[in-house]
Amino acid sequence: MIWEIKLLALILVIICAIAAINVKDLLGAAIIFGIYSFMMCVQWLAMGAVDVAFTEASIGAGISTALMFAAIFRTTRRTKD
């Protein structure tokens, strides 16, 4: 993969991580956390770790987000920080 794209993906990962913990709405944060997982998966794909990337795409970006959504839906989306 072209190194500029790799670097861009890496920067996006960090931006998503910072955004996920700073958004003041848990549902939004959960979605950004899903994006974070997906960008991480792209990162691993770029490193040639196809199996890890596949697992992260299905588990991290898929099921984890669904579970988090379910939990937030049944509790509250309010957060102070």
């Binding site: 996920a20 913990i21 770790a49």
Partner: protein
Amino acid sequence: MEDFLTQLTSKYNFWAYIVLMMIGLYAMIAKGNLIKKLMGLGIFQTAIMLFYVAIGSKAGATIPILLDTHSKELIDFADYINPLPHVLMLTAIVVSVATLGVALALVQRIFDVHGTLEEDEILEKIKNP
């Protein structure tokens, strides 16, 4: 300075893992919301996975799946990326989702009991019920 730059460029993936890990750890310590803490934990764990996958990378090698299964030649280990860290991280990813599931279950129980997800409000309610 020159030294520092070469180190930065040759190891930028390792730097990224440290930055992510610090973000995750900060969220776990400083954030009061329980779900935010769990997100911090998730970021922390993926940072370590990034580190492991970075260990396995090899310049000029391809993905760890054998290309030609019929060739009689000896397989050259320099042609394929190191599969072992990938195996270890598959395990770690599955462990992290299992931990997340249990943690979310506990969070729901806590919400049932205390009616809030903010740590300071919960402590307040425990002190003055």
